[in-house]
């Protein structure tokens, strides 16, 4: 395989071997600490325009299968791994990771000491830009430094048009901010008749569909860049219809109800943090992926109840409205990838819809 380089904006360069597509790409470099689920990770639209560094040293072991896509057209900018492996005898495997990345024009680079790199990134403040290039020369660094990171990620990956995912059960409207398929999969398992709406939908657009419940999806980027319109929609809808929000949707739900957000010093992507479910005082694990967190002190206790909290970094992981059946979680309750123990939240959502019918 060809020798390639990962270069960072601080001027450092890491030599490795290229795999996947041979493209030269730039993007924000982030660390993913999950042990499992590289397929879900690389196809999750929250990684739009990002180069993902995997701490798990062997990536590619089980190939690529039909059941683990989180989007149709992944838009991550690259994978940085220690070893890329192609040893799959898994009966579900349809492609190798290498072939998959070639199909989607995503470059990968292997042979990098990713754990060392992740430790280094933790000490660097703010978003760090990086490129995967053939030659790490002055020109490549000039190009990298000239790269401007977009803040229009949601527009890039969310659906511009409504579409249905028909079934025979509850009518659920999903507001798409760049949703992961795990959400639709969980709703399908519960026979929900889903309509996916663009994130620019107004409250009236939502109410016109007479939904039993509304779900605000995950998505990439900063919730602070999406404007006031979506917050108004959330405030109007939550008063009428049971609402469940995940990831970016949770951050917007918090904003809409007066809480403030802060950017984490380093984005957290992993599943090793114990999360306390406050109401029953038990511990769950879930896949988390967040660059922002709700500021605990900013929560108006007369409007919101904190329902989940991360026991490692203390971040708020779940909220619930005091007056309405509207609740949200920061972590990915669809369990794709990894721990499934929070999928129960989809059952809670179903119950909230049933209870409203009386």
């Amino acid at each position: 395989m060809a020798k390639r380089y990962l270069i960072l904006e601080d001027g450092s360069a890491y030599a490795g071997e290229g795999f996947g597509a041979g493209a030269t790409t730039s993007g924000e470099v982030i660390s993913n600490l999950n042990l499992l689920g590289y397929q879900e990770t690389i196809t999750d639209q929250i990684y739009h325009n990002q180069i993902i560094i995997f701490s798990q040293p062997a990536i590619g072991n089980v190939g690529i299968n039909h059941d683990s896509y989180e989007s149709i057209l992944p838009t991550a900018k690259g994978m940085v791994v220690r070893d890329v492996t192609n040893i799959s005898t898994n009966r579900l495997s349809r492609l190798s990771l290498d072939e998959f990345l070639q199909q989607h024009n995503i470059p990968g680079i292997s042979g990098i000491d990713t754990r060392h790199l992740i430790r280094k990134l933790r000490k660097m403040a703010g978003p760090v830009k990086g490129s995967i290039v053939d030659v790490a020369d002055a020109h490549a660094f000039d190009q990298l430094n000239a790269t401007v990171l977009t803040n229009r990620q949601v527009d890039q990956v969310a659906t511009p048009k409504p579409y249905p995912n028909p079934d025979t059960g509850k009518n659920v409207v999903v507001i798409d901010f760049g949703l992961k398929h795990g959400i639709l999969r969980q709703l399908s398992e519960r026979r929900c008749n889903v309509t996916v709406l663009p994130w620019t939908a107004s409250a009236q657009d939502v109410l016109n569909l007479d939904p039993d419940g509304v779900l605000l999806s995950t998505g990439p980027g900063s919730p602070l860049d999406l404007g006031e319109g979506v917050l108004e929609m959330i405030r109007a809808v939550q008063a009428e219809i049971p609402l469940f929000a995940i990831g970016l949707g949770h951050e917007l739900f918090a904003l809409a109800n007066g809480a403030k957000l802060e950017a984490l010093p380093v984005e957290y992507h992993g599943s090793s943090h114990p999360i306390r479910r406050i109401i029953t005082n038990d511990i769950i694990y879930a896949t988390q992926g967040q660059g922002y967190a709700v500021v605990a002190k900013s929560i108006d206790r007369n409007r919101l109840i904190t329902t989940y909290v991360d026991l490692i970094n203390g971040t708020v992981q779940g909220l619930r409205h005091r007056d309405f059946p509207a609740f949200s979680v920061q972590f990915f309750a669809d369990g794709a990838p990894g721990p499934h123990e929070s999928r129960d939240l989809f059952d809670e959502f179903m119950e909230a819809m049933t209870a409203r019918e009386g």
């Binding site: 406050i278 109401i279 029953t280 005082n281 109840i305 329902t307 619930r320 005091r322 007056d323 309405f324 059946p325 609740f327 129960d344 059952d347 809670e348 119950e351 909230a352 209870a355």
Partner: protein, 177 residues
């Protein structure tokens, strides 16, 4: 043949949802008291109170209401209506928002008796009813404010609620007579 219609997870979830609904409906937990109707309603009441304590960091008073043996396999007419007494309640219900908790809502006669028992203790601001299962077949104009699960049933069927505090597990089962 017994069929499990609510498993342990679903029972936990129902109690969690009822807890949130109580907060929604009462705009918080001020002046709230919870009274569980013996036997299993007591344990459900305690679970709801412990959830409120976790969420709001407030101790909501919990009491037990005693109901005379009232089995649905005994002739009701011969037995008369159930009698309820609240002698184990060491707090005042006057001016409070009372949440009655029972496992199964059926004819409504137990609840009527429970309401009389509460009234005998004092004049509450309001009484709400939370039940894990509403199985229908009411004989009195009574409905629950918070329902874990509606289980439309035949009168020939038996609904059996188990709680892990005194039974081997958490479950609601339906049995054909």
């Amino acid at each position: 043949m017994a069929k499990v219609v609510v498993d342990a997870m679903a029972m936990q979830r129902a109690l969690t949802r009822i807890t949130y609904e109580i907060i929604e409906r009462n705009k918080g937990v001020d002046d709230l008291v919870i009274l569980g109707i013996k036997t299993r309603g007591v344990y459900l009441a305690r679970r709801i109170a412990s959830r409120l304590q976790q969420l709001e960091n407030v101790t909501v008073p919990v009491g037990d209401l005693d109901v005379t043996p009232y089995r649905d396999d005994i002739d009701h007419d011969a037995q008369g209506d159930p009698q309820v007494s609240g002698e184990n309640i060491d707090f005042s219900v006057a001016g409070k928002k009372v949440i009655l908790v029972d496992d199964v809502l059926y004819t409504g006669r137990t609840i009527r008796a429970a309401m009389s028992a509460v009234m005998a203790l004092g004049r509450p601001q309001s009484i709400n009813l939370a039940v894990l299962v509403d199985r229908g077949h009411r004989e009195l104009p009574i409905r629950a404010d918070f329902v874990g699960k509606n289980i439309p049933s035949s009168q020939r069927e038996r609904i059996k609620v188990s709680v892990s505090e005194i039974d081997d597990r958490d479950a609601v089962e339906i049995q054909q007579a």
